[in-house]
Symmetry: C2
Subunit: 79 residues, 2 copies
């Protein structure tokens, strides 16, 4: 616990009814990684975090003063 990220993960996992081990297997990461994530470890790998969040149906996005400008240019760049 202690960090907001940890609380978010724990909260969503509890709501999903999964155990740490089940979540880790679905996400394809080690059981210890899920445990550490829920206990405030920040030095986890981003790709592993994203795998866990995907299973829990959580998605990340960003906020910044440049957000709107970025999104406009970014969607243009893709077309």
């Amino acid at each position: 616990m202690q960090s907001e990220l940890a609380s978010i993960i724990l909260f969503h996992r509890k709501h999903s009814g999964l155990t740490q081990q089940e979540l880790s297997e679905l996400a394809g990461v080690g059981k210890n990684m899920v445990y550490e994530l829920e206990n405030g470890k920040k030095s986890v790998r981003l790709d592993n975090l994203l795998k866990v969040m995907q299973v829990l149906n959580i998605e990340l996005d960003f906020q910044s003063p440049l957000r709107e400008t970025f999104l406009k240019e970014y969607s243009d760049a893709k077309c």
Copy 2:
């Protein structure tokens, strides 16, 4: 490039006028880490990513169907 995260970082760094090296020094990470981040590497450490984003004034948040429920309970838990 190639990933959205990479584009976000690059976009914000360019707007800040910083070089990769300056950004890396301000963030307290290696220059190669910034380079790799901007080139789509996903296996970076979360804490390092957050340091870089902090310098660029970008913040992360999450979206999920449980978001509102979580935020309500989370803010209660802190008081």
